[in-house]
């Protein structure tokens, strides 16, 4: 706090209670010594800390509220209707860390520590009854739907988490059309799953999840039992992509995805995701587990 290390003063006790001496271990030790010698001052320090705690309890619930649309719109300044302006797209692209789910689980098997657990989510889905659902549309979806959590506005939910609007990328150029969007969760934080399918029934799943750590974005591939997975981080999101494609096809899809997120033309988004036009008041920040999964999106 000070250069000449004077006797402990009120300001030091205050800084100590505020946790501001953590960066100055020597001064912190001096204050603690002083407090041992002057127990009556300890009450003051405890009071200051208790004040901080009470004030936080008073106002901190605001932090978990969804960010109002009008505030997000400020950062999304060129947004019009449901289309995204270039700035928003860029923010989204940065935000959409494609947790392309492909590779995650192999990485897990290698024993590497993953700061983001997207691979665990995809792995679990592949190992369980989700597997046929993930890669093929030939099976009945009914039971799986009942087993999964979901809401009708998963991307809006995610958008609220990162305070940036999100739209599902357009993969029609690769032959994949949007089939479904839903929230999924295992043991970790929730993710949004966007499912695409070709006319022949081949499926592709894109997973999106927020990430707040600052890991270096990098692509990771994995293959298992004919399913290819890709994981990557970009902006505020983690991405995973999983499907029965070979690696080159997967690379093409990833490139299309990233390009699509950055350069979504205005006017096409409403065709992709008409349901995102629901009023802001209907959006839910949390998933209700009992809520049935919507069957299919147009």
């Amino acid at each position: 706090m000070t250069d000449h290390r004077p006797a402990v003063r009120d300001i030091d006790l205050m800084a100590y209670a505020d946790g501001l001496l953590d960066a100055d271990p020597q001064r912190k030790a001096e204050v603690e010594t002083y407090l041992r010698q002057h127990p009556e001052e300890g009450a003051r320090v405890r009071d200051y800390a208790a004040q901080n705690n009470a004030i936080r309890r008073l106002y901190s619930p605001v932090l978990s509220e969804p960010v109002p649309e009008r505030l997000r719109a400020v950062l999304d300044s060129r947004r019009r209707g449901w289309a995204l302006g270039p700035v928003a797209c860029a923010a989204i692209a940065a935000g959409l860390i494609l947790v392309a789910g492909f590779t995650g689980w192999v990485i897990g098997q290698r024993g590497q520590s993953e700061p983001w657990s997207m691979h665990a989510l995809v792995d679990q889905m592949l190992m369980t009854a989700e597997r046929p659902y993930l890669i093929s549309s030939s099976d009945s979806n009914r039971n799986l739907d009942q087993a999964m959590e979901g809401t009708t506005q998963p991307l809006d939910w995610l958008s609220h988490q990162i305070a940036v609007s999100l739209q599902p990328p357009d993969l029609t150029s690769q032959g994949f059309t949007l089939v479904e969007k839903r929230l999924v969760a295992t043991n970790g934080p929730q993710a949004v799953q966007v499912i695409y399918a070709t006319s022949s029934g081949r499926r592709l799943s894109l997973f999106l999840r927020t990430r707040w750590q600052d890991e270096t974005p990098q692509f990771r591939f994995a293959e298992k039992d004919g399913v290819t997975m890709v994981y990557w981080l970009e902006g505020p999101l983690a991405y995973a992509l999983a499907g029965q494609l070979d690696r080159q096809e997967m690379v093409d899809v990833v490139q299309t995805l990233r390009t699509s997120m950055r350069h979504q033309p205005q006017g096409t988004l409403s065709q992709i995701a008409p349901e995102t036009a629901s009023p802001d008041t209907l959006l839910v920040p949390q998933v209700t587990p009992t809520q049935p999964v919507p069957s299919k999106y147009p």
């Binding site: 946790g19 501001l20 004040q51 009470a54 936080r56 860029a90 923010a91 940065a94 990162i162």
Partner: protein, 170 residues
Amino acid sequence: MDDLKWLIAREIPHLRRYALALLHDPHAADDLVQDCLERALRKRHLWRQCGSLRSWLFRILYTVFLNTRKTQWRDRQALPLEAIEFTLAASANQEAYVECREMAKALAQLPESQYAAIMLIALEGFSYDEAAWIQGIPIGTLRSRLYRGREALRTMGATTGHHGRVRRIK
């Protein structure tokens, strides 16, 4: 550019919280945050990459608060309880409820300069240097306001003192 927007977006919940603490009116608080965000984007070239974006945003918020309040907004209401009543009602812990009410009443008695300084430190965990810069005052003034405000709170018995754990919010 995009990274900057993302970084700004991350601070929105914290800006809303401090704005609510200043104004005690959720709608006016969001107005304030919106002004702050618009100004930040307009003046993004003024943000020095070496500095803290967080401090810069809070400085803008506080400056807008001081400027617009004179013409547009009423003075701080006597009791901040209304704005946070919903929060208190949601608390199942009766003891915490009482403690929060006491704190809210005591905070309402403080001069605004002391109040704003305390909220900045207690809620957002800024250093005293950062807080002084955000409020545009000398650090000695900031410390003085903090000290006097906190002693006043103690005198009013705003805390029960049994939650002594020191914690920082980043």
